[in-house]
């Protein structure tokens, strides 16, 4: 299930590193925006709701243990601009999620992009990129690193 870093993620991250600070419900403190994790997993639930949309999915870690992840985007009013919608995911979809992980190492994060089963990529764009990427830029990591 492990996915190796590939250039598209590096490119996406380069773009995200240049993104301007944006509003985030949690502020800037809760996510480690100096790096991303890329996780392949199976969708269990998609909440198209306020104040933030939530994608829940299960993914195996290096030990083969299934970990339940919860990752947020911005609200529907923002995400619709980036091409996301209420029916973007259904339970059981195999997706590859790139996110800023929570600083405390728990399986929470802020989504930067999701690759769908058909290969299409949903970028969180302005609606999902979180604030204050460090001036030095970020680095991408593969999941799992816990």
């Amino acid at each position: 299930m492990r996915k190796r870093p590939i250039s598209v993620f590096a490119l996406a991250f380069g773009l995200l590193s240049m993104s301007i600070p944006l509003f985030a419900h949690h502020g800037t403190a809760v996510f480690d925006t100096s790096k991303t994790l890329t996780i392949k997993g199976s969708v269990t639930e998609w909440d198209w709701s306020n104040p933030h949309c939530l994608l829940q999915f299960d993914a195996k870690n290096e030990s083969g243990q299934v970990v339940h992840w919860i990752a947020e985007t911005q609200n529907p009013g923002n995400m619709v601009y980036a091409g996301w919608g209420k029916t973007s995911f259904k339970s059981g979809d195999e997706v590859t999620v790139t996110l800023y992980p929570a600083k405390n190492g728990k399986p929470f994060g802020r989504i930067t992009q999701v690759v769908l089963p058909n290969g299409k990529t949903l970028n969180a764009g302005a609606g999902g990129a979180d604030t204050s990427v460090s001036p030095e830029g970020s680095k991408s990591e593969n999941y799992p690193k816990q």
């Binding site: 509003f23 104040p51 933030h52 829940q56 339940h68 929570a102 929470f108």
Partner: protein, 302 residues
């Protein structure tokens, strides 16, 4: 009161819906009825008309104003320090925002927004100013804000601005309560500029000025200057005059550009729902202080 409120809402929308001036003043003719027919132009601004659906011209996030008001972001720079009175500074320090130079961790914040309190005015201009619908007739201008599905009325029928009194405002001989969106009166100062004065706002323990916890009080008088540069461009300047909080007036938005959207556009809801907020907090809560196990004893692994 609920009946009067509903009656007011119904009356407002009946007025703007059935007025021949509503909605269509600046809309181009629908050639085929398709939303895709809309084309931006730089035609001159129509006279005394700011109606339309407007969005930030520099991208949707420009209106979020994530570091506080656009013209004076709360970034710690000396040139962006506001002229607080001692009480204003004390009030600011009592606020615990998630954003800005004095941001706190999520466990400690106290933004009334996150209790689903109304943003109020002028925060409706100064935070999350996204797709904004403006309707007008010969009596009033109504602004429909995207965040919180909130609206306010600006009277343009020649009435005087109410007077501030201790208990609220004086409208004629009636003392009226302070309101989240205040009492607004607008005057056209030229063919394309509407200047709006607003008073009668909620006190400082109910509302914030911006996302970073700057204060605003019921003593404030806010001036908005809507200048329609051409058909497709509207500039908004907002000046804060609040002697309780600030020693002098200051500009919070300075010619903030908004561009006209396709009049057929159906604006998304952005709201604060207590039940959705509760679910969000239960599922996601505070990632920085989240325990090893999510709420309700579930383990993160399964």
């Amino acid at each position: 009161m609920p009946y009067r409120f509903r009656a007011l809402v119904i009356g407002l929308f009946a007025a703007v819906t059935f007025s021949p001036l509503a909605f269509a003043q600046n809309a181009p003719s629908r050639q085929s009825g398709s939303p895709n027919d809309w084309k931006a132009t730089s035609e001159p601004a129509p006279r005394h008309d700011i109606s339309g659906t407007w969005e930030p011209a520099n991208g949707p996030n420009d209106g979020i104003q994530p570091y506080g008001v656009k013209a004076m972001p709360n970034d710690g720079k000396p040139e962006h320090q506001l002229p607080y009175t001692p009480y204003g500074l004390e009030t600011y320090k009592s606020h615990r925002p998630l954003i800005g130079a004095d941001a706190v961790l999520p466990a400690n914040f106290n933004d009334p927004r996150d209790k689903c309190e109304p943003l109020g005015f002028p925060r409706a201009d100064l935070y999350y100013l996204r797709e904004t619908q403006i309707l007008q007739n010969e009596y009033k201008v109504a602004i429909l804000y995207q965040y919180g599905q909130a609206w306010r009325v600006i009277w343009t029928d020649g009435r005087e601005l109410p007077k501030l009194v201790d208990e609220g405002v004086l409208v004629g001989n009636d003392v009226r309560e302070s309101r989240f969106y205040g009492y607004s009166v607008g005057k056209w100062v030229d063919d394309s500029t509407l200047v709006v004065q607003t008073i009668g706002l909620m006190p400082e323990d109910r509302v914030w000025l911006d996302i970073t916890g700057r204060p605003i009080s019921d003593a404030a008088r806010v001036e908005e200057r809507f200048h329609r540069v051409n058909r497709d461009l509207l500039e908004l300047t907002v000046t804060i005059d609040d002697p309780k909080m600030y020693t002098k007036p200051w500009i919070a938005m300075d010619k903030f550009p908004m561009r006209l959207e396709d009049p057929h556009r159906d604006v998304m809801e952005v709201y604060c729902s207590p039940s959705e907020m509760e679910r969000y907090n239960k599922l996601f809560g505070n990632p920085t202080s989240a325990p090893a196990s999510p709420p309700d004893g579930d383990t993160p692994s399964r």
